[in-house]
Symmetry: C2
Subunit: 475 residues, 2 copies
């Protein structure tokens, strides 16, 4: 309606028009203001994303943090190196000027590998051949002289069950490879890991004297990849070792030629009494709602065959660097952003559980927790909550694309923040590309040389941005 | 309109309704058919994508091809190794059972590095320090005893121009680093590469006796990264070398302390007469329109400091493996799919030009060309045509996501297929993640150990899928 046409309206209608017109004009201006604010907010966030990106990539300090953490060495729970890492990261948090830096206790297993393991194949055709093995984490030792027995190769527990008592007195050789066809290697890992975790128990139920498990990697090489196993109460404990993939292929081949081939192994690992270790906590206190908390974390402990550069010194470096970027850019988050270096993700997850139920949580409201425990490779996205809780975050995808990521999707986090999730905290997981992760995972190859400083920093930048957005917007 | 309400329509209207109704019903059925076909087609393509993915990831033969190509050694144009690679890939194409396998000639430069170069800094504070240098490709040699001169450090040509005649008799040290802030490292490379390509000419215009260029990498290490340079006709030719980034940082630091610091270098490279080399060509002949061609390619030649695993043995392996997958899956493409191993991308691009203008192109219609020349890293997307020609391809994005990629965008290809583009061919470039590319690019570090078999194979799978879709759908 043009202004000129108003004069021909009857007076009554004209009177009625005013409130409507007023409403229309008002809503127009409100829309303009709201839209303007949304645009302004987007612009502000885009600027902040760029600032975080530029500072991060210019300095690449995540890699310096990674150097410090890995320089401690392997950090198996209960080891002096794990304790040194606690002290180191507490000191780093102080140096970064974080608030509320403190340790929180958690009891952790203290399993020690002992002397380097020996593994050997003896077959009528080839004589005795040494192959690389490593005790699986939590295994009992063999007798001092080792054990040696005929080998039964299986690819699954159902295959084992079909064998009846043919496993009696034997070493069960779990030789299921990770499925190379899956683009996401974690799916392949999850499907094959059961033989490492439960293999010894299942083998013992069939009267086996030992369990030997193909390393969970898709590379064919000479590195055993260890990890956690569990004994079931009431089932005889038998020693369990992982064997390098090249060793596994050789054993499988020799078994085909000579089914009486034997395998020998000598493990001298021992389970000592549990010890008290610590999660390491540090904050940037929120300026408006300090009691509302966004947690970021990785785990300080690692397996003992390498300094755990990707698993999970990278996640610790990501979290510390994210806080450093937010602090040094003086972004002053409204809510508290916290880094937690969790202790004992690998040997049972006590750190995550104890963090969630600590007395210190009283009066704290954990809105969201972001975990990085999938390595320091190129970050491709974030898994956020479930399909319902994810929805409102889709709008931030383009902000993350501006710092190099590709997507936000429903997903969630890992072991360390799962207990917070049970209390209603939104769980978020950084998702780096997974192609190379199991090349190094839990093996002697998980060293800093396999981490690219740019890839690592991009992960820290993404974590900083997500934590900051959550601190401003809530959930 | 419900069926019951028809009875109350006047007869005339009822008559008029029939044709309309018929049309509506007909269009409904047509829509169902079309939609059904689209869905069927999508399903067929999805199945084919999965088949290619599964075969590729199960066998990971791209890496075997890469091993073969890199085992030849560095493949500088004109070198015996480059010729060996021509023979090798011709043989591989025969073994793969490709059609129409043949060589096409192209004249290439024959520049030879000679003895390993020497570079040294002399400053009053530190005495003489050796630093790693390498002649830039195409440089003239120094006199046998080398040259030594005071150094002027600049970060840009405009800075050089402002110096007036202060560069006279000096070595100009171009020390502009690649900008680490850009998530896409190719952007940083493109911005800094001019100093390597044109530095010697610009320095000579100011009376300099030599040019020294910071290596185009963001890693701080001891590897010189070479590449192409050009002399301008009419400008004195002066020798040009690249210096490792650690060496560049040291030189810059020493110059600050002692501006009279000198730099010495000894280069014994030589430009010999050009020689005739070859592109290597092989097809899967199209079953319906064999004259319509989809080309895939990478370049066989590399720089001479390493076997060029990423640059560009990876692109050759991608293309050969893509054809192998299509052939062994018996997909029988409607149009011809061709692999070309281009010769001489690095030293002037003659292979791509000669391919496009060859007599052999008569009667061939090149619909599209897909180039892989950005390394064998995780493939993240494809650049396709320009913003207009790209549009119809967006619909295939989800197919590529099903094999691990993230996006299709406007983009295009590289040096080797650009001449085809000038003839109207649609240009497509595989885009792997770029974070690690310049760690190794044109240096001694571009070796097979830096290539991950899974990442490489995903690139080949993506190429196979794109070539197949184009062969079925045209453009």
């Amino acid at each position: 309606m043009s202004a000129g046409s108003m004069s021909i309206l009857p007076k009554k209608k004209l009177l009625a028009f005013f409130p409507l017109s007023f409403l229309a004009i008002a809503s127009f201006f409100i829309s303009v203001l709201v839209w303007g604010n949304v645009r302004l907010e987007n612009k502000i966030y885009k600027d902040i994303a760029r600032k975080i990106l530029h500072k991060g990539m210019s300095e690449q300090y995540a890699y310096e943090l990674l150097k410090k953490i890995t320089s401690v060495g392997p950090r198996l729970t209960g080891s002096p190196q794990a304790e040194a890492a606690v002290e180191l990261t507490r000191r780093i948090m102080h140096e970064l000027g974080l608030d509320n830096v403190h340790l929180e206790p958690t009891e952790v297993p203290h399993w020690v590998r002992g002397e380097q393991e020996e593994g050997w194949i003896s077959s009528s055709n080839s004589g005795r051949i040494s192959v690389p093995v490593a005790a699986i984490g939590g295994s009992i030792a063999t007798p001092t002289q080792g054990i040696s027995a005929q080998v039964v190769e299986v690819k699954s527990f159902s295959e084992l069950n079909r064998l009846g008592d043919k496993g009696k007195g034997k070493i069960i050789f779990f030789n299921r490879p990770m499925d190379p066809k899956l683009p996401n290697t974690f799916q392949a890992y999850m499907a094959a890991a059961i033989q490492r975790v439960q293999g010894a128990t299942e083998a013992a139920k069939h009267g086996a004297v030992g369990a030997l498990v193909r390393s969970l990697t898709m590379r064919i090489d000479d590195y055993p990849h260890t990890g956690l196993m569990q004994y079931d109460p009431g089932v005889t404990k038998i020693p369990a070792a992982c064997i390098s993939t090249r060793g596994a292929n050789l054993l499988s081949e020799l078994l085909k030629k000579d089914p009486s081939t034997t395998f020998g192994m000598k493990l001298s690992c021992v389970e000592l009494d549990p010890v008290v270790s610590h999660n390491v906590v540090g904050d940037i206190t929120g300026s408006e709602s300090p009691e509302e908390i966004i947690v970021m974390g990785g785990h300080l402990d690692s397996w003992d065959l390498s300094p755990g550069a990707h698993d999970d010194a990278a996640g610790c470096a990501h979290s510390l660097e994210a806080l450093r970027l937010i602090k040094e850019l003086d972004l002053k988050p409204k809510r508290t952003i916290r880094a937690v270096m969790f202790m004992n993700e690998e040997f049972g997850g006590s750190g995550g559980r104890d963090y969630a139920r600590s007395e210190n949580r009283k009066g704290e409201i954990h809105l969201a927790a972001i975990e990085s425990d999938r390595g320091g490779f190129l970050p491709v996205g974030f898994g956020v909550g479930d399909s319902q809780t994810f929805k409102p975050f889709k709008k931030w995808e383009s902000l993350f694309q501006s710092v190099g990521l590709f997507w936000l999707r429903p997903g969630g986090g890992g072991v360390d923040i799962a207990p917070l999730g049970q209390q209603g905290t939104l769980l978020i997981g950084l998702v780096p590309d997974s192609q190379r992760y199991f090349d190094v995972h839990h093996s002697g190859k998980d060293v800093i040389e396999t981490v690219n400083p740019r890839e690592l920093e991009l992960g820290a930048i993404a974590m900083a941005l997500f934590a900051y957005l959550l601190s401003e917007e809530g959930i």
